[in-house]
Structure formats: structure tokens, C-alpha cells
């Protein structure tokens, strides 16, 4: 994630080389594979006949590592004719971060703080993702959505979601 973040004008040739679509994609694959290998370091491997818990994960991670390396190399070699990432591409991180954060917060809060407060949190954080939203609009949208989801999910479907915080 830290790769190239905030490198808006990319002065350094090294960063410019990294900030290419395929290179970043390959690095992502390599990153996931490395993480997988690290997580599965203690899983028993077993043999091909009697596979242990770690056999398939490690196999897949090594394959992914290899594929990721190929994608990186491809990206470095073909990058001359491919449009490099511009600073506009990095501003895409804003919705990515805030939309993800809003859902994580919603998931963590819904059982403890109840429907109403967690919707307020979701809308509040989610609204930051789009620049166009004014505070008052956001509040109005949140109120409408609270009433709507209370009507549909609590009254209509009878789901057992806590509405208010449970102490």
C-alpha cells in the first residue's frame, strides 16, 4: 500500500518506474503471496499423498509469487508505450480508503451500538469519499436511510438487529 502513495509528481525515476499499472499489479500479487507464505509458515505441509493443512496454500502462494514476478517484469519491459500512472490515479485512493473504512466501522458497530448509530457512522464516513456532498445533504440522506432501513429490515422483515445501543 505504501508504494507510490502520495508521490504526486513522481520526481524520482525509481518511483516513476514503479508507478506503472502492471508493475503495481505484479507487486500486489507478490505481496499477497508473501503474506500467504508467511501466514502459512507453521502449517504442516505433509506429502502429496496425504496433504497437510499447508500444502495447497503454500503451493498456490509460490505459483502466485512466480506469476506476480512475471507481471512485474512484463510491466517494466512494456512500460514505454503504456501510459504511466498520473497523480489523478492516486486521488482514487480517497474513495477506496473511506468507503472501506465506513463498512468496517459499520460492521464493528452494528451489534454494539445498534442500527441508528451505525448508519450515522457509515453515512458520515462514507460521505467523505465523494467530495460533492454537503453536510446538510448528508444528514438528510442519513435520516431518510435510517427510517427506510428501519421500516424494511426491522418492521418489514423482522430481522433481529439491535436498533439502539445495548449496554
Amino acid at each position: 500500500m505504501s508504494l507510490g502513495e502520495g508521490q504526486n509528481n513522481l520526481p524520482n525515476p525509481f518511483w516513476r518506474m514503479l508507478a506503472r499499472r502492471d508493475v503495481l499489479a505484479g507487486l500486489l500479487f507478490i505481496g499477497v503471496a508473501t503474506l500467504g507464505l508467511w501466514l502459512s509458515r507453521d502449517y504442516p505441509i505433509g506429502t502429496a499423498l496425504r496433504m497437510g493443512t499447508g500444502y495447497v496454500p503454500r503451493l498456490l502462494c509460490w505459483i502466485l509469487l512466480g506469476l506476480g514476478a512475471v507481471v512485474v517484469v512484463q510491466g517494466l519491459r512494456e512500460a514505454q508505450d503504456v501510459r504511466p500512472l498520473s497523480s489523478a490515479d492516486f486521488s482514487a485512493l480517497r474513495p477506496l480508503v473511506f468507503v472501506t473504512a465506513s463498512l468496517v466501522i459499520f460492521g464493528l458497530s452494528i451489534e454494539r451500538l445498534g442500527l441508528v448509530i451505525s448508519i450515522l457512522l457509515l453515512i458520515g464516513v462514507g460521505a467523505v469519499a465523494a467530495r460533492a456532498l454537503r453536510p446538510l445533504e448528508t444528514l438528510a440522506a442519513a435520516l431518510v436511510l435510517i427510517v427506510l432501513s428501519w421500516g424494511i429490515f426491522i418492521l418489514g422483515l423482522g430481522l433481529t438487529i439491535p436498533v439502539w445501543p445495548e449496554w
Binding site: 502459512s40 499447508g54 495447497v56 506469476l67 507481471v71 512484463q74 457509515l122 465523494a130 442519513a142 430481522l159
Partner: protein, 537 residues
Amino acid sequence: MELLHNLAVGFGVALTPANLFFALTGALIGTLIGVLPGIGPIATIAMLLPLTFHLEPTSGLIMLAGIFYGAQYGGSTTAILVNLPGETSSVVTCIDGHQMARQGRAGAALAVAALGSFFAGCISTTLIATFAPPLAKVGQSFGAPEYFSLMVLGLIAAVVLAHGSVIKAIAMIVLGLLFGLVGTDGNTGGTRFTFGITELTDGIDIATLAIGIFGIGEIITNLTQPQETRGLVAKKITRLWPTGEDFRRAWPAVLRGTALGSVLGVLPGGGATLSAFAAYALEKRSSKHPEQFGHGAVEGVAGPESANNAGAQTSFIPMLTLGIPGNAVMALMIGAFTIHGIQPGPQIMSERPGMFWGMVASMWIGNLMLVIINLPLIGMWVQLLKVPYRFLYLAILLFCGIGVYTVSNSAAGGAFRRARLRFHAARMRAGADDPRLRAGSADGGESSPRDANFERRPGDLRRAADQPRLVDRSACALRAGGAPGHSQQAGRGVPGIAALLHHAHCRPRCTDALHTDCRALHVLKHATDENEHRAWQ
């Protein structure tokens, strides 16, 4: 003759007021989300999965199917009028459809798209009715090797049909397989990649992944792009009916599109989008006036629109007959079946003829409804585009969140788990009828893949009779205090390409010869879940 009888049964089911209502609801919701860019059938179906608990299984499935093919109609409307594809499958419709609208032929383009879709829908529904039964018969003799081969075929097809870099496609498949590994290993009972989080021992739920990849992913992409300007076609639509010239040029394109879409829909990884793109390429190549394409050629609307509807419907064939999802929507449909404790697969047609034929018949009715209601309602759909996306995405975000929560966690989640318990128990009991289970019972857990062929050897019935003991055994274990067992997600998948991946990984492991004990533990786990649920209540 048998076909007619079956269809009569199907129409008997589909024409009840309740089912008509749900077909209409599904078709309308489908059109709505088809019109709205930024929300597709996958996210919608995932969001509505919890809702189908409260419905009859048949009604729920009729509604979900309606959403899928309704979206194909709705997507073309905005593609033609506003040059804004509501669905990926109508991206190519923009090219010529919007040009036609600019020339004042919007009505003709809409009518050609709707009539072409209707024709394609009728033909492909007939194909389902004709070819599903024989295919299901073949499917019934499938054991582990055959399913394994199908999975391999699916994975290869996913690579071949992917756009862009092949290496990246393979890497994504490997990534999907890795996601499928999260949770409890069916082989050893050990947990993988769970980070000590209890919820993850069950693996990653299909609805969760579908909403994450398609629902949330789409929101983020849309927010990344600058605020779109939605230039509505100001001109009033005056003539709805196409000219004779339009008809003469459109009908061969409709035929070609239907044929192509029907074939591509059945393939794993295929479906509506691929069919539409392929049909456009075909039309352009086979046309005598390729220079007209991009400037309002009616074939460029008729071909892809028929193809995407045909592809959307024939992709039900592998799901209904073999229990294999060809695309993400079908993976979710399997999820919907599982909620009600039904295992999609070859046996569905013999065990629940009313449901199968009711669904097929409802597709006919739904398509007819779509043609009739959609043309007059076009104006209303276009008005909907005026809702700014900055409000829309908040609502989508919220419903995605609540949808995922209810499917996997809440009381509904409890019902879901109970349904799975029933489903597994039913499969145990049905052991003698299910070749895959028979194969499993043959070897008592010490297995080599060869044993998957066991059902073809004599004496297997005696062993199959051992099946009920498994249930007893797990019941004993439960009474004895029950260690946390593990659960597999048989019959459920991870969406899209990942669906195939997940299934490739998880299904053979669970349903084929490998682990009789694994299945016993399943039941144990689900039984434990249910007990917990009761205690909690």
C-alpha cells in the same frame, strides 16, 4: 409430449397470483437496477438474498431470476437514450443505439432492443426446457472425476475468456483459490488464514465476496471518476415502431445474436456480457455495410441485445442441471437455493419438478411482462437517472452492509445455518440416491481418488446403507460435548471467476470421495450452531 406435460406443470406453478407477483417484482427491480449505473444484478441479488428467507423457495428464485434478465432490458434503455450503459452487458449497445437516438430513431432502437431481447428470451427458455432434462440425466451419473474435469474446464475457460493479460487472469484465479482456502481445511480439520477470528473458520461467504467485489468495487470505481454529465436525449420519442427497413435488417441479426448468446451463455465464465461483445463483433464482421457501424446501424443494437438476453438465460442451464455456476450471478443463485436447503444439481428436476419447471415458465412470463411494461415506462426509468449518484451510492453502501450482515450473522444467519444443516442431513439420508455421496461412503475416509468410481462397482448399495450411521455418530459426538468440527460450503461458491475457483477447490473436496468424516463433522458443526441458536433464543 413429456415436455408439454412438464411445461403444463411449470405454468401451473408460475401462474399462481403470488408467483406472478414475484416475477413482476423481480422484473421491475431488475429493470430499475439495470437502468441505474453503479448497481448491477450481482449486488442486488446479494442484497436481496436475506429477503428470500421469508418467501417460498420457488417464489424467491423466480424473483431473483427476474432481476437478472430484467437487468438486461433495463441496461439497454439507458445505453440508447443517454449513452450510459446501465450494465456492462449493454456497453456495446451504446455504440449504435445512442447514435440511432441522436438521429431521432430512439423509439425504433428501444423497440428493436426489447423485441430482440424478447425473442432471444423465448428461444433460450425453450432451449433450457429442451436440453436441461437430458443434461441432468447425464449429470446424475457424474462422480468426482467428472466434476473435477468440469472444474478444470471452468478454470481454463475463465482464463481463455478473460479480457486482457492471460498471466494476470491466471494470477487472479490463483488469488481466488487462495481466498477459497480461508477457513477450516476439510482434509485435516486445521484452520487456515483465519487470524484467530472465529467467524473466518467457516470461510468467506459468497454473498460477502460478491458484494465486496461487485457492489463496493463498483461504488469505488464510480466515485473515482469525475461527476458524470448525463446528457439526456431532449427530443421526445415520437415513433416507437421500427420501420420495415429496420425490421428487415434487424431480424437476421437477432437470430445470429440469439444463437451466439445461447452457446456462450452455457460456457463457464460466459454469460450476458461476453455474449453481447461477441455478437457485436460478429455483426460487424458479417455485415455488408461495416462502415455504418458506430453511426446507428440497427444490427448493432439487435445482435448484442438479443445475445445478452439469450446468454443471461442459458447460463441457468449448467447451474440447474449440474449445480455449477457459470458466472457470479449463478453462484449467488446457488446461494439462494442453499438458503432453502436445496442442493442445485441433477436431482433438482426429479425431486422438485414444480420448482424447476415453474422457474422456466416464469422466465417466459417475465420476458413477456418486460416487453409489455417496459416500453410505456421508458420515460419513468429515464427520470430515475436524475437522482444524483452521491445519494445513490450512500444507499447502496448501506444496503450492502445490512445485506451482508443479515446473511452471515444475525437471526437470518442462524436460519441460514439451520437451512444448511437440513440440507446436509437431507443429503446424508439421500446418500443412496446420490452417486457422489455413495462414492464417499465407500471408503470410510481413507480414500484415493480412484474410489470415486466406486459407485459403479457392485456392492456399493450395502455400503451406502452405512450412511445413516454417520448422522448417528455425529449426534453422539454432539451429546458428548461436541468439539468444534468444521464446515464446508458445499454447493456455495465465490463469485465470478472466483466462483469457479472456489468450487474447483471446495466442491470436489467435500462432495467426492475424500472425506466421509468431513461430512459427519459438518453435520456436527451445523447441529452445534443450531443448538447455540436455540440457547440464544
